[in-house]
């Protein structure tokens, strides 16, 4: 018995299964952090992507073929992202790729997609470097400089805040990038970063940083992190008696934000793709369908995933054939796509140009405050 178990355990790795491929399918690959410390981001994106694919299949697929989505987990590790993307391209023969949330992992995978000439769209990697990898790499979200600019402008013009403090997530490339661009723009606009402190995602206690910020009396605090930490940060800030408004980026967009932050986060502002009290039919429809399928409200990453998948499907539909180059050309041509997250047009740098909105948290709704155009 023992021997048998050992044998099975040892031979398991070599029984790498093969998946059947049918010519009646168009295979799209997705890679993301489905497990590990950033699993919640990968899973949210996956939900949005799946919704888009299911819709397309319900409508009869594309070119008479069903769309098959193969999602592979990279555990939130860059080297896994690289190997997973290689596997998707080599073994699953995907026609295009969707992923990743984090720029660090998109940057690890993009060169592979580029060299194999498989188009890749990242739904939410905001670092400018990602699409600079090559002409097969696209994105359907903002880039950090734009979002940084939006919030810096908002802070100085709308809130008249000149002395701003930053609390960044040093473990997240997204947060660090956004904080840097925000700082640069704020200085340009005559503002001043009076304190720049950091935390690491996964932390639960931020009082030390906040106490330090409090002594400097900032007029606003910019927290370019994810909702997973921001809710707790807001609570602790209020507990310490910090009254300055809290600002953030699209990483805040999740129903969980106010569930965790409760009253403390109310009144915080963040830049986002859309406000969830929008009356835009695409967004309303998306929220309805999402709710019906998953029985929860979508967060920003789900919306971004949905849009990226939609853009990709549109390009595949318009492409004369399923070669990478053909799909690539069509993605590059996308203009004025009515996405959940705004009108998406791909520019010559393969980035999406779309307007951003600044919203204010009020319970579960993100109230529209202002629109900022690129």
């Amino acid at each position: 018995m023992r021997q048998l178990l050992i044998t099975i355990l040892c031979t398991l790795p070599f029984l790498a299964g093969c998946t059947k491929k049918s010519s009646n399918e168009i295979v799209i690959g997705q890679y993301g952090s489905m497990t590990g410390s950033e699993a919640t981001f990968g899973q949210s994106t996956d939900k949005g992507v799946r919704l888009a694919i299911d819709e397309a299949n319900a409508a009869g697929g594309i070119k008479g073929k069903k769309i098959k989505l193969v999602t592979m987990d990279d555990q939130g590790k860059a080297e896994e992202a690289a190997s997973v993307v290689t596997r998707l391209i080599e073994q699953e023969k995907v026609v295009a790729l969707l992923g990743e949330v984090a720029s660090s992992r998109s940057l690890a995978a993009a060169p592979i997609a580029q060299s194999k000439k498989v188009p890749m769209i990242t739904p939410s990697s905001t670092n400018p470097k990602v699409t600079e990898v090559g002409d097969f790499v696209f994105r359907t979200c903002f880039i950090d400089p734009f979002q940084g600019t939006v919030m810096a402008k908002f802070a100085t013009e709308n809130l008249k805040a000149k002395k701003v403090a930053i609390l960044r997530d040093v473990k997240s490339d997204y947060s660090v990038g956004l904080a840097d661009f925000f700082t640069a723009k704020l200085k340009e606009l005559g503002g001043e970063v009076i304190e720049d402190v950091s935390y690491s995602s996964g932390d639960v206690d931020f009082k030390a940083q906040l106490t330090k910020l409090k002594t400097k009396n900032p007029e606003a605090i910019f927290i370019p992190g994810y909702y997973t930490e921001v809710g707790l940060i807001a609570r602790q800030a209020r507990e310490l008696g910090i009254k300055a408004p809290l600002l953030g980026g699209d990483g805040w967009d999740s129903p969980k934000l106010s569930e965790i932050g409760q009253k403390a986060i109310d009144g915080g502002y963040f830049s986002n793709h859309y406000s969830n009290e929008t009356t835009d039919p695409v967004a309303v429809e998306f929220q309805k369908k999402f709710k019906a399928k998953y029985n929860e409200m979508p967060d920003g990453l789900s919306a971004a995933g949905y849009d990226a998948a939609k853009v990709l499907l549109k390009a595949i539909e318009q492409a004369p054939d399923l070669s990478g180059a053909a799909i690539r050309d069509q993605i590059a041509k996308i203009t004025g796509h009515d996405g959940v997250t705004g009108k998406i047009s791909i520019n010559d740098k393969r980035n999406a140009t779309k307007s951003a909105v600044v919203v204010q948290v009020e319970g579960q709704t993100n109230k529209f405050v202002t629109t900022v155009n690129p």
């Binding site: 699993a39 402190v197 639960v204 206690d205 940083q209 409090k214 997973t228 809710g231 609570r235 969980k256």
Partner: protein
């Protein structure tokens, strides 16, 4: 001055959270010389047990002492059961195996709990129910003293005293000490070592359960990986104080909490995590058995 006192309060409150978890580590280490890596995940399960208990009983929006008691019982029960099961299934078969094997098994159990937690509970963070209203007890020099912070500190100290009494003033505790000093001799003297070890795991895990509810109250965001960082730091704290030593765990945890807080407050926030380990290394270099640990000369 005001901010210094605030930092002090923050540090002690953070330290007492570490201490609650560190106590569990130190107990198991004391008796088995095993770094129970799964302890921080038992703590995570405790938090989820309390979360689901509150939801099924419909008391998640009903803060009060009765809710606290119910959740504590739920978490402690779930953790004890889990701790008992882990010891029984994973550690007991390895009692005679080399240390590193047991360490790897502990890591395996930890990974298992984390990843199955992500499958079962979902990876997204959950909001821990409001258990007690946090209120300002009194204000001193412009710094507010909150009921939750003091409750955590109080519970930690009570646990420490109870554990001390258990270990040094009961028959069971004497048996535990006997097993920890020499398992074989204890067995020869008629101590049922397996039962004592199980008991240690049950107590240690119940402590993790208490910790999970208190931490959940203070930081109401729970997720399957919540135990990782806090567990590591709590463990470092236990080693710092001299692992196996109950008072040492609390002392180490308070030092950890305070030094982290002070570094962020007065030096650099980016190196906060590096610092925790930096202190540990410096202390271990000068006191290889931790602050309160017994050095002991190896018998030749």
């Amino acid at each position: 001055m005001q901010d210094f006192i605030q930092h002090l309060i923050n540090g002690i409150s953070l330290g007492s959270i570490y201490a609650l978890i560190a106590l569990g580590y130190t107990m198991v280490f004391g008796i088995l010389q095993l770094i129970n890596f799964a302890h921080s995940d038992v703590y995570m399960i405790g938090a989820f047990a309390a979360y689901y208990a509150a939801r099924t009983l419909g008391i998640d929006k009903n803060p009060g002492v009765s809710t606290l008691v119910i959740l504590l019982i739920a978490a402690m029960a779930a953790c004890s059961l889990l701790g008992f099961t882990i010891e029984r299934l994973a550690y007991r078969p390895l009692r005679k195996a080399p240390k590193l094997n047991i360490l790897i098994t502990a890591i395996g159990v930890s990974l298992f709990l984390q990843y199955s937690g992500q499958v079962v509970f979902g990876a997204d963070p959950k909001v821990f129910p409001a258990v007690l209203e946090d209120s300002v007890l009194f204000t001193l020099l412009g710094v507010e003293f909150k009921s939750l912070d003091l409750a955590v500190l109080f519970v930690t100290l009570v646990m420490m005293v109870l554990l001390h009494l258990l270990i040094y003033h009961t028959k069971l505790g004497r048996a535990m000490r006997a097993v920890s000093t020499n398992m074989n001799v204890a067995a020869m003297m008629g101590v049922n070592t397996d039962r004592i070890i199980s008991f240690t795991f049950v107590v240690g895990s119940a402590l993790a359960g208490v910790g999970s509810v208190l931490v959940g109250m203070k930081y109401p965001k729970i997720d399957p990986l919540m135990g990782m960082m806090i567990g590591l730091k709590a463990f470092v704290a236990a080693v710092l104080g001299g692992i196996g030593n109950i008072a040492g765990a609390v002392l180490g945890a308070l030092i950890m909490g305070l030094s982290e807080e002070m570094v962020v407050g007065y030096l650099s926030s980016t190196y906060r995590d590096a610092l925790a380990f930096g202190i540990l290394i410096v202390i271990l270099i000068f006191r290889p058995a931790g602050l309160l640990g017994k050095g002991g000369v190896e018998k030749v």
